[in-house]
């Protein structure tokens, strides 16, 4: 009960819901970068100057516009099939975002659910789930993802499922830890006394209290997942080739690297870096803001 008074007091002292945007440590630049990436991904069809999957062989390996040989029609140059790099980057943002977010959410839902069940029910359920978590954490994440991708074959949907399967364990671990301490708190005990079923307690009383941690973890996982997706695509077991994914672009660009076609590598690499960097900075800020217990992470 003390928590409700506390939160009411806290709400009263906050001038407005969105005042945090003006606070000194708000990561404005990372959020702006993520915003731009989301905007570009949503309006990719309108923004991209060319078709990302069709190129003209007459215009292969054009450099960016400021180098000799480059022109205004292909601002960031073209690749080995004469496809426009800028358009591919724009559509690649869509692939990265869709795969990244769905995989993080998928992993989060599975991990949080199992973490809550494991922590609240305890006993043999807890033992089983935690042993599975331990075994899966022992698996080398990247090799395991490659192994799974090699079995099921490359597609965006499969990548989401694979990354979800590989990364849910981290949520389960942290959420379970939180649930173990929540379980002993007065409001949960009162709910038990009031006759709530286990299911209701988990859903109504435990879940809202671990959502913060799950969100913080999700924002930190976003970068990890995007790098994992790019790695899989880079190795040829991720997003299948004609689709413009940043990892695929890097792997294509690798062949032209020795001849000096630097733009095929540097641009997609910078996009991945900017996105992951922004996600990590936002995650760090959220961690400090939302969840004092996770500060040590």
């Amino acid at each position: 009960m003390s928590t409700t008074t506390e939160s009411r007091l806290l709400a009263a002292t906050l001038p407005s819901r969105f005042s945090f945007v003006r606070s000194r440590d708000f990561p404005l630049v990372p959020v702006a970068i993520l915003g731009v990436i989301v905007f570009v991904a949503v309006f990719a069809d309108l923004l991209a100057p060319h078709d990302p999957q069709v190129g003209s062989l007459a215009a292969r390996f054009r450099p960016p516009f400021w180098q000799t040989g480059g022109g205004a029609s292909y601002l960031l140059g073209t690749d080995q099939l004469g496809r426009d790099v800028l358009s591919r980057l724009i559509f690649g943002a869509r692939v990265s975002l869709v795969v990244g977010f769905t995989a993080v959410i998928f992993a989060g839902v599975v991990g949080t659910t199992l973490g809550i069940v494991s922590g609240y029910l305890g006993g043999w359920v807890d033992q089983v789930i935690m042993r599975v978590v331990d075994a899966w954490l022992a698996l080398p994440a990247l090799s395991f993802a490659i192994f799974l991708a090699a079995i099921v074959g490359p597609s965006e949907m499969n990548i989401v499922i694979i990354l979800g399967l590989v990364f849910w364990t981290r949520y389960a671990r942290i959420v379970r830890g939180e649930v173990l301490s929540l379980k002993e708190r007065d409001f949960v005990r009162l709910a038990v006394v009031a006759g709530c079923s286990k299911w209701t307690i988990m859903r109504r009383h435990i879940l809202p209290n671990v959502v913060n941690s799950a969100i913080v973890l999700a924002s930190l996982m976003l970068g990890v997942v995007i790098i994992a997706e790019a790695s899989l695509s880079f190795l040829g077991v991720g997003v299948p080739p004609p689709k413009p994914a940043w990892g695929v672009m890097l792997s294509d660009g690798k062949q032209g690297l020795m001849v000096g076609y630097w733009w095929l590598t540097v641009f997609p690499g910078c996009c991945i870096m900017l996105m992951v960097l922004s996600a990590n900075l936002l995650g760090d800020w959220l961690r400090v803001k939302l969840d004092p217990q996770l500060r040590q992470l």
């Binding site: 022992a138 990247l142 395991f144 079995i151 970068g223 190795l235």
Partner: protein, 306 residues
């Protein structure tokens, strides 16, 4: 102590069992494993023969038992591409991986430890900010991008270092840096927090009260104790590196275990892919076990807790 070791050993065996079950399960559940076990383009009759040969027409429990018996005998199957046992192939690549991982680890410790200590001693100063930036970049820059940028700069523009292959010391520089980069950031972060913990402890305060010079307190009293968790993590990370190296080894065509995994995937050489994952996972489980026991020997509190 004996009890602790037995229980910990039990967990490890359980982990290995679950690991084998997971791999077995995914191969069977996602389709007909026979299509993975025959070479691409095999006929119907070949597939039927494989079904019979590997006992795929028998109940799942029997299949799992067979799978485990083969595993325990060290038989991971035959590589299609190299026409030799997977375990032999793996062992022939392991020294290269170990070499790369050792150099990368030395690099990550050489950078991570001093910077970690510096940022802990001077919190809020220039070094602290520099360290923060460094960890952020280390965790955000994917290793393949670092690798490609280095090839572009050192091999293409400057022509100083070979872009791929192995054989000389020069071949080691770039892959070791690209691989060690992420781990340097991780080690730095742990070194910093371990050092901060120790610096706040009673015996360091006492050392200060005694009037010991700062360099003695940090070098002799604090560092020694703060190093334990970092060295433990480094031990675990050495094995992780061998497994994570798949990307870096692909970029630099370094003939290690990771490159083997990549070849297995690109040649559709399924026994190799499965073998590398099983051996990699087992190695991690075993090293974790060793580290835990070692830790319990060093620190009695751990075995009492567990």
């Amino acid at each position: 102590m004996k009890q602790f070791i037995i229980r910990r050993l039990g967990y490890s065996v359980l982990s290995l069992l679950l690991l084998s079950l997971t791999i077995f399960f995914f191969v069977r559940v996602t389709g007909d494993p026979a299509t993975l076990l025959v070479e691409p383009g095999a006929s119907e009759a070949d597939i039927a023969a494989i079904h019979h040969q590997f006992g795929l027409d028998r109940p799942l429990v029997v299949q799992y038992a067979l799978f485990m018996v083969n595993l325990l005998r060290g038989d991971l199957g035959q590589s299609f591409y190299y026409q030799m046992p997977v375990s032999e192939l793996y062992l022939s690549r392991l020294p290269n991986s170990l070499l790369l991982a050792t150099v990368a680890m030395s690099f990550s410790l050489l950078v991570g430890l001093p910077v970690g200590v510096l940022t802990a001693v001077r919190t809020g100063g220039f070094w602290d900010s520099a360290g923060k930036l460094f960890t952020l970049l280390g965790l955000s820059l994917p290793s393949f991008f670092v690798g490609l940028l280095m090839i572009l700069f050192f091999s293409v523009f400057l022509g100083w270092l070979p872009s791929s292959g192995s054989g000389t010391v020069w071949h080691l520089f770039m892959p070791a840096f690209a691989l060690g980069w992420y781990f340097a950031a991780a080690h730095m972060r742990l070194m910093r927090s371990a050092m901060l913990d120790v610096l706040g402890s009673e015996y360091v305060k006492l050392a200060r009260l005694k009037g010991l010079p700062q360099i003695m307190i940090i070098g002799k009293h604090a560092l020694k104790n703060a190093l334990t968790p970092v060295i433990t993590l480094a031990g675990i990370n050495l094995v992780q590196m061998i497994n994570v190296a798949v990307i870096v080894e692909t970029v630099f065509a370094w003939p290690g275990v990771g490159r083997l995994l990549y070849e297995g995937v690109s040649f559709r050489d399924f026994p190799v892919v499965q073998g590398v994952v099983i051996l990699g996972g087992s190695m991690i489980v075993i090293v974790n076990l060793i580290v835990d026991i070692f830790y319990a020997v060093l620190d009695p509190r751990i075995r009492l807790e567990a």
